[in-house]
């Protein structure tokens, strides 16, 4: 029986609920999107002069917040924090800059064979690993063979097109491909492709999550001095770093935070100098603050509203058109993204891909009346009832709320069903449900999305859309070595997707970073883990 004590207890609980919830609200905010990266096209060439900066010129320690890491072996890393840390202990063969262009790093220059099947890289001179051993072509060969040949590594599939990786001298490497791949340089700068020492079992990182300071044996700009898993990692500038004048900082300290609000508070309180783990509301709260410099960048991570076209009601193109006409993308962008990122145009090719992106084909203006007419013509005179299935994370529930409102004016009534990641992806719902919202991570070039999502035989063709003309264009764009032909193909693809594609891309996400104004030279990248601290210095 409920006793008097019980009643009082619940009253007390009710009284504290407000305070409790408010306190909780100071806890974790929304997680920033987990993305995967790789990068867009660029031309060959570039140099990097080896050299050394006098120790006295390196000043200041940058304290950066990051989510705790689980993986330290470069071949296994995936989260922003893991990539961010590895990116400063190791070096890539080639890197991708903030403009999404391929730039030299350990490779100073490269040439492509006439057939487009061989690539020769010249490596930087005077590079040494943190343990003092010199860097040679054998390290590159070992790294990429390991990434390609080790079963279960995420890169095994990516590099399956490489038939041979050979040293062509002490500081030269040749890659041979089985088929042309215009994005090969971007693939070489994949997040995992950090060069490790020849023969190192675990990429020189020690055991995952338990590595000691001496285990992180890279060639990168910072050397690990101390690592306490879950707490912090202390790094010092690599005095033997091969790029002249870099890094400018004397040290780097990665402090692990389990939630975004806490790292935002730490930045406000001066306990850290930089955070890139921010939700839009947190970023807004820091943006105008004195003493802080805020940066945001549109990524190619996007929300994809997709309808299966192999079953009713999506099998009628008029229904697809009606959904598109019932949607106001600009309004969604302002409400859900607060104007950060970029407005989508129903294609996975976003503005970040500069020349590949086009606005030649206009998005039809919102017209709910016309949408309702189309539905009536398609056999739904009383409107349409649909279930919209989506992940319960990021701002997808907000997107669903806005779509529900906008579509209701066209007679499309949506029942929203949010599900956790384990169900959505684990049970394959994201591929099977008739109408769903799926998040796609940032990639450095657009071909990936087309190959796995929109080609007729794509492995994740959730809409079951198959268009002959589109298929040919995707194949052309993915194989031609003629840049103009590829640009034209991508523009055509965008036209087709706007006119008859089964997907709606209302917006591209943004990535945020806020740094103390005691520092300068910070430039956030679309995949924040690849942000380069080598250029950051103490402000004068």
């Amino acid at each position: 029986m409920a006793t008097r004590g019980n009643g009082r207890w619940i009253i007390a609980a009710a009284v504290v609920v407000l305070a409790g919830l408010v306190l909780v609200s100071c806890g974790p905010g929304t997680m920033t999107p987990g993305q995967e990266a790789t990068e867009v096209p660029a031309e060959d060439g570039g140099t990097a002069a080896p050299g050394e900066m006098p120790a006295a010129d390196r000043q200041g320690t940058l304290r950066v917040s990051a989510f705790p890491i689980a993986q330290t072996d470069p071949a296994q890393i995936s989260s922003d924090a893991e990539v961010l840390i590895a990116n400063h202990i190791y070096d890539y063969l080639v890197d991708v800059d903030a403009d999404n262009e391929v730039v030299p790093r350990l490779a100073t220059e490269w040439t492509r064979g006439e057939e487009g099947l061989t690539y020769e890289f010249t490596l930087a001179e005077g590079v040494v690993f943190h343990d003092g051993t010199p860097f040679t072509a054998d390290d590159v060969v070992y790294t990429f063979r390991r990434l390609r040949d080790t079963e279960g590594l995420p890169t095994a599939d990516l590099y399956s097109n490489i038939t041979s990786i050979e040293a062509a001298g002490e500081l030269a490497v040749t890659f041979t491909l089985s088929d042309t791949n215009p994005f090969f340089l971007y693939d070489l700068s994949d997040n995992h492709a950090l060069i490790v020492k020849d023969g190192s079992e675990d990429g020189g990182a020690g055991g995952a999550g338990s590595a000691g300071a001496n285990d992180f044996n890279g060639t990168g700009p910072f050397v690990v001095q101390d690592y306490e898993p879950g707490n912090r990692m202390v790094l010092e500038a690599n005095e033997d770093y091969f790029v002249e004048g870099q890094p400018h900082l004397a040290g780097l300290e990665i402090i692990f935070f389990n939630d975004q609000s806490a790292s935002a508070d730490a930045l406000r309180g001066g306990q850290i100098d930089l955070t890139m783990d921010l939700s839009t509301p947190l970023y807004e709260s820091l943006r105008q603050r004195d003493g802080l410099i805020a940066q945001d960048i549109a990524t190619n991570q996007f929300a994809n509203v997709r309808l299966r076209v192999d079953q009713p009601p999506g099998d009628d193109p008029m229904v697809v058109e009606a959904l598109k006409l019932a949607t106001n993308r600009e309004e969604i962008f302002q409400l859900v993204q607060q104007g950060y990122g970029a407005v989508g145009r129903d294609s996975p090719i976003g503005p970040l891909f500069s020349e590949y992106y086009t606005e030649e084909t206009g998005i039809p203006q919102r017209d709910p009346e016309r949408a309702a007419e189309l539905l009536a013509e398609a056999g739904y005179p009383d409107g349409l009832d649909l279930e919209l299935v989506l992940l319960d994370t990021l701002n997808f529930p907000d997107l669903a709320a806005v779509l529900k409102q906008q579509w209701s004016e066209a007679g499309i009534h949506v029942e929203v069903n949010t599900v956790p990641e384990s169900v959505f992806y684990g049970e394959g719902q994201w591929l099977d449900v008739p109408l769903g919202i799926v998040g796609w991570g940032h990639r450095p070039y657009p071909q990936f999305y087309l190959d796995v999502m929109l080609a007729c035989d794509a492995k994740w063709n959730a809409t079951r859309f198959c268009d002959e003309e589109l298929d040919e264009l995707i194949a052309t764009a993915g194989t031609t070595l003629d840049e103009q032909e590829r640009i034209d193909a991508y523009h055509e693809i965008q036209r087709i997707l706007i006119e008859r594609g089964p997907i709606m891309v209302p917006y591209f996400f943004a990535e945020y970073g806020v740094i103390s104004d005691r520092f300068e030279g910070f430039q956030i990248k679309a995949f924040s883990g690849r942000t380069d601290f080598r250029q950051i210095r103490l402000a004068e």
Binding site: M1, A2, T3, R4, N6, G7, R8, I10, I11, A13, A14, V15, V17, L18, L21, V22, V24, S25, C26, G29, T30, S261, A264, S279, P281, L282, E284, S285, E331, Q334, L335, V336, Q338, D392, P397, D398, A400, A401, V402, K404, Q405, E415, V416, N417, T418, V419, P420
Partner: protein, 305 residues
């Protein structure tokens, strides 16, 4: 002759039950008067009535729709136009709180009612018959009660999937064992009383004994337990909404609103304060009423679950 005796006995039983009901009715009338005589319960009752009215006439007093988005007014603090401010999608929080009252009260109310009805029937039968039936039922309920309510709710929702109906089922399953135990404990203390034995001697049918003789005795305890369960159910509905496994967005469910408000707390703190405040206020109101009901209905405090 036997038939006459049975008929006579039936009349006697009805009269007794009628007396019991009349006594009960007057006790309830007194209870309502008592509620407004005590300041704490007067406040509680008023809060409860206001929220019930809000649930009933919400659509007529809410200035905006629950999912109506005013792009130009997004993220506005409380003002004359938007009393409780607007959320990140430009929705009027006052309207959402008012319209959400129906969802929360209806789900918690109907769920509790179902638990009370089911729990009462099981408690009556189990307590009256006793023996192996009682053992099996009670041990089964013990096993359910050994799990924290929220954990049990999450387990159930995991298999049912999130929806309004699932939340109703969850409330019913979570609270039925508790109600059944309360009813059973009353039955155990009442079934040996003379009026029950008299009915048994007169050969009354079991359902008659259970519902006309014993059931009225459980009403005071049920009233108190029901009101307490109701306030717990409000918490449970809000908790499930907050965890994102209950009512689905963009419903103006208060728990869901707190969840959304929390994500946007740095920009729109009012989007968290008002729904959280509504949950707290209505739960306090219901509990003040329950506490007073217990005192004035003189529910024996030695009754244990």
């Amino acid at each position: 002759m036997a038939e006459q005796a049975e008929a006579g006995g039936g009349k006697a039983g009805s009269a007794q039950a009628g007396l019991a009901q009349a006594g009960l009715a007057s006790r309830f009338l007194t209870a309502v008067q008592e509620l407004y005589r005590r300041p704490a319960s007067a406040i509680g009752s008023t809060i409860f009535v206001v929220f019930v009215l809000m649930a009933l006439v919400g659509p007529f007093i809410a200035p905006y729709g629950s999912n109506e988005q005013i792009v130009a007014d997004a993220r506005q603090p409380p003002s004359l136009d938007h009393w409780f401010g607007t959320d990140n999608l430009g929705r009027d929080i006052f309207s959402r709180v008012v319209l959400g009252a129906r969802d929360v009260l209806a789900l918690a109310g109907v769920g509790t009612l179902a638990a009370v009805v089911l729990g009462t029937m099981v408690g009556l039968v189990s307590g009256y018959y006793g023996g192996w039936l009682d053992e099996i039922v009670m041990r089964f309920f013990d096993s359910l009660l050994s799990l924290p309510a929220l954990l049990l709710a999450l387990l159930l929702l995991g298999s049912l999937g999130p929806s309004r109906n699932s939340v109703l089922v969850v409330i019913t399953v979570v609270y039925t064992p508790i109600v059944a135990r309360v009813v059973r404990s009353v039955v155990l203390s009442v079934k040996t009383k003379e009026f029950v034995e008299a009915a048994q001697v007169q050969g009354e049918r079991v359902w008659y004994i259970l519902f006309r003789e014993i059931f009225p005795s459980t009403l005071p305890a049920l009233a108190v337990e029901g009101s307490l369960r109701f306030s717990y159910a409000i918490f449970l509905v809000a908790s499930l909404g907050f965890l994102g496994v209950g009512v689905q967005p963009p419903s103006p469910d208060w728990g869901l609103m707190v969840k959304e408000g929390r994500a946007n707390f740095t920009q729109t703190p009012w989007a968290l304060y008002f729904p959280a405040g509504a949950i707290a206020v209505v739960v306090i109101g219901v509990n003040l009423v329950a506490d007073t009901l217990k005192q004035i209905l003189q529910v024996p405090s030695q009754l244990k679950r």
